[in-house]
């Protein structure tokens, strides 16, 4: 069952990386300026700066693409994520309908082939499109062909833990880079870059429908606090809690397991937080806290269900 958490988590991660690459590549095209500055924020976003610096040094286009898409030594590259998802799936093939396994396998073979062809450097957006499509297909298949029982809920939790983390990282890294400096007040916002920020969370069109003009605090609000937008951190937390409580059968507002306690606390914090609170307390601190909590929730889920035999029995009893 742990594997269904990881499968969907890794697929989600691969998809997010593809989206970052795609948006950044489109943003830097025709920019003409030094490429280094344009690609290094992408490496910051991963949080694995030191690994990159040691292995690659310069953050130019081809290095960053190689690192994020094809580096088999780097755990979070697209190819590593997809191949791990496939490994996980191999061990639990009986849980999934054949179509999902087949799709996952095709996904893996596609990435391996793309790595060999090396065309992906020049046709990056085509490559990224294929990743996004493959991921959407798997999500769609899981949603529509798998019973919405325990494995399904675990898979959903895995995906959304990852998604909440990635969306918040985008806000964390990009927000300060794009915010007008105090001495620059009154100048126009760099709309192209703000739009790119939204696009890297596939949020541009939905943001527009909700808020229209781009305003930094609204953008942060949308990506962190929207209840309805499926990639916002808040939406993810709501769904994570929902899935967890479906598995354990615990009543909302109460807890028996550590994971229930942590997600419940974090979710209600989000329920009653406004963007002004976040800004006045400090965006970075807030997001840092979110990410620490997400990690703890991930670890707690693991402890509660997959390592601690007592907890496992408890959950089985409850679900019966």
């Amino acid at each position: 069952m742990a594997d269904s958490v990881f499968i969907s988590r890794h697929i989600e991660r691969a998809e997010n990386v593809a989206r970052f690459l795609d948006v950044n590549s489109s943003l830097t095209m025709g920019d003409g300026s030094s490429l280094q500055d344009q690609w290094s924020p992408l490496v910051f976003t991963t949080g694995d700066q030191s690994f990159f610096d040691e292995k690659y040094g310069v953050a130019n286009r081809s290095n960053v693409i190689q690192f994020l898409a094809f580096d088999q030594e780097y755990d979070n590259s697209i190819i590593s994520c997809v191949s791990r998802a496939r490994e996980n799936a191999r061990t639990v093939r009986e849980v999934f309908p054949v179509a999902i396994w087949e799709q996952l396998n095709k996904f893996y073979l596609m990435v391996v082939a793309a790595e060999k062809e090396k065309d992906s450097l020049t046709e990056l957006s085509e490559f990224c499109d294929r990743i996004k499509l493959a991921s959407s297909t798997i999500i769609g298949l899981i949603y529509s062909t798998m019973s919405h029982g325990e494995p399904w809920h675990f898979a959903r939790m895995g995906r959304l833990l990852e998604r909440a983390d990635k969306t918040s990282r985008i806000v964390d890294v990009q927000y300060f880079l794009l915010l007008p400096r105090p001495q620059d007040i009154g100048s126009t916002l760099d709309v192209v870059r703000w739009s790119a920020l939204l696009r890297s969370a596939s949020a541009l069109e939905m943001y527009r429908r909700e808020h229209g003009r781009i305003m930094p605090s609204r953008v942060a609000e949308f990506l962190l606090l929207s209840r309805d937008f499926p990639r916002s951190a808040h939406h993810c937390l709501i769904a994570i809690q929902d899935s967890l409580l479906r598995i354990t059968g615990t009543e909302r507002g109460t807890f028996q397991l550590r994971s229930e306690q942590l997600i419940g606390r974090l979710r209600s914090e989000f329920d009653y937080t406004s963007i002004n609170d976040i800004i006045s307390k400090g965006m970075h601190q807030f997001i840092d806290h979110l990410q620490t909590q997400l990690n703890e929730i991930g670890a707690a889920v693991h402890d509660d269900f997959f390592t601690n035999p007592q907890a496992r029995t408890a959950s089985q009893q409850q679900s019966q």
């Binding site: 500055d37 739009s195 003009r213």
Partner: protein, 525 residues
């Protein structure tokens, strides 16, 4: 790669000089292009076309029987505009749109320009696009033409001329945005090392312009886009812009007038609408005021409009500035309102309502292009030099019958841009339609829609008549200059060059925005 057509090309090509050597500003691009194999370019071209099909980027040709949707051909080789030249064009467009806005406002109010004898009253009174009903009206923020598309062409003498102004519902901007996206997706190799101004912020600017002209003093005005519906030739653009701005796309029946306001129907009842970006003609806007048989409009909307409770963009009546006979007077209009000479030239124009011009036109039909004063889309145009005698006779009769309805211009030799035709790059004629937004400020989108006549020798670029389109690249000023300017602007000392220490201080705060190479360049100066 470049076809034989380029060896005997006596016109003006945007990318290459007469001797086939790339122009200075396109040198980098052409050498990039040459580094890519012919097969690869053709493969990219096919990918781009496939993308257009997949994305369903289509337009409708009226009168076509089978399948109303057509793909508008896209060509991979961009038109490249040099930074300095663009700067001049941009200023010229700002000046022109500002002047036209003053002009429309004056025509519907004091008519000083008529009283001072600059524009003949007769011309205004007889213009089909003049709206008597708007006499005495002041639109919110004084803006009449919020969105205009000004068609530019370059003649073989190298001069850029304004061919016509479009102040009603100019379309094509969605193709500009889609073409750029398509270029980036399918032909990313050519962008390497190029420094092109982005166009992607247009929807935001458009929304900004619309909302800044909201009439009512609400904190959060609501805008909608009013479309005539799915059968309109520009319906794709309507949906595209509505989606990109995040505003509701509505049709006439979705809006109702109640009391003194316009509302849209929602699942939670009526919601007030403050700004309507309408993509339907004046004629169909309000059956109570204009055409009675219109089912596309909103009955009573003009009433609300005149009370100042809703903004229509563009304002009804703005079409007066589109009239091709008025066009001939634009240089004088600019001089009249702005006390400066027009930066962009007009094509010399014979206005047939002037008897002496009319005589000249009738006796020189075989050299001139005759245009109806109030048509768009290239309909009703006579290309004198290529027309048959019968066509010319027919046109002469029409001019004699109603001279007010016609103008004539010398035949221009439009500039060319290399265009992919059966695997080779051939010279094909182009025009350019930049888009200008006029709200509190004027904003000119860098570049615009480059339309290309795909038939050899043809000068007709209209989508309805076998034209295609290209991406338009406005190059940035060389990095050195622009970096210096940006840094100097940030420094507290305005007129004396800042000391190095001050620059360094600014740079510490700005290091995120500039690379170290930029900084070095700036310090060297």
């Amino acid at each position: 790669m470049f076809s034989d057509g380029y060896q005997q090309n006596d016109g003006y090509d945007e990318l290459l000089q007469a001797d086939g050597v790339p122009r200075a500003h396109s040198r980098r691009f052409v050498s990039r292009l040459r580094s890519i194999s012919d097969e690869e370019i053709q493969r990219r071209q096919r990918t781009a076309e496939a993308s257009l099909f997949n994305l369903g980027i289509t337009f409708t040709v009226y009168g076509h029987e089978q399948g109303t949707e057509k793909i508008w051909p896209f060509d991979l080789v961009p038109r490249i505009v040099e930074a300095k030249e663009w700067n001049r064009i941009r200023k010229g467009l700002e000046q022109r749109v500002r002047a036209l806005n003053y002009f429309i406002d004056d025509i519907y109010n004091e008519q000083k320009i008529i009283k001072d004898g600059v524009v003949p009253e007769d011309l205004i009174r007889t213009a089909k696009t003049y709206r008597q009903q708007l006499q005495g009206f002041h639109p919110p923020q004084g803006v009449w033409c919020h969105i205009s598309g000004v068609d530019l062409v370059r003649h073989s003498d190298g001069t850029v001329y304004v061919l016509e102004d479009n102040c009603r519902c100019p379309s094509g901007v969605s193709y500009v945005l889609e073409n750029r996206e398509l270029m980036k997706r399918t032909f990313s190799q050519v962008f390497e090392g190029m420094s092109v101004l982005p166009v992607e912020d247009y929807p935001e600017r458009l929304l900004d312009t619309l909302l800044s002209c909201a009439s009512t003093k609400t904190e959060h005005p609501t805008a909608v886009l009013l479309t005539p519906g799915v059968y309109n030739s520009a319906y794709f653009e309507h949906t595209f812009l509505a989606q990109q701005m995040g505003v509701e796309l509505v049709q006439g029946p979705d809006l109702i007038v109640e009391g003194d306001f316009v509302y849209k129907c929602t699942t939670h009842g009526l919601q007030r609408v403050d700004v309507i970006y309408r993509r339907i003609d004046d004629d169909f806007l309000d059956p109570q005021v204009f055409r009675e048989d219109s089912v596309l409009g909103v009955p009573g909307i003009m009433d609300v409009y005149r009370k100042g409770n809703v903004t229509l963009a563009n304002a009804p009546g703005s079409g007066i500035a589109d009239d091709k006979a008025i066009y001939a007077y634009v240089p004088e209009i600019i001089r009249y309102y702005m006390s400066e000479d027009a930066i962009l030239s007009n094509v010399p124009t014979y206005v047939c309502s002037k008897p002496e011009d009319c005589d000249y036109v009738l006796s020189h039909l075989d050299e001139l292009v005759v245009k109806p004063t109030n048509e768009s889309g290239g309909y009703g145009i006579l290309m004198g030099p290529t027309a048959s005698q019968a066509e010319r006779d027919e046109c002469a009769a029409a001019i004699r019958d109603n001279p007010r309805n016609y103008i004539a211009q010398p035949m221009l030799q439009l500039s060319t841009v290399p265009t992919m035709v059966q695997g080779e790059l051939c010279p094909r004629h182009v025009d350019l339609r930049p888009f200008v937004l006029c709200g509190k400020d004027i904003f000119v989108m860098p570049g615009g829609l480059t339309r290309v006549a795909l038939r050899e020798g043809s000068m007709v670029v209209n989508s309805s008549q076998g034209g295609g389109s290209k991406d338009t690249w406005v190059l940035r000023f060389e990095e050195r200059d622009s970096c210096r300017r940006r840094i100097f602007r940030l420094c507290p000392i305005r007129f004396n060059p800042p000391k190095k220490k001050v620059i360094r201080q600014c740079l510490v705060e700005w290091r995120i925005r500039f690379s170290s190479a930029d900084i070095l360049n700036a310090l060297k100066m």
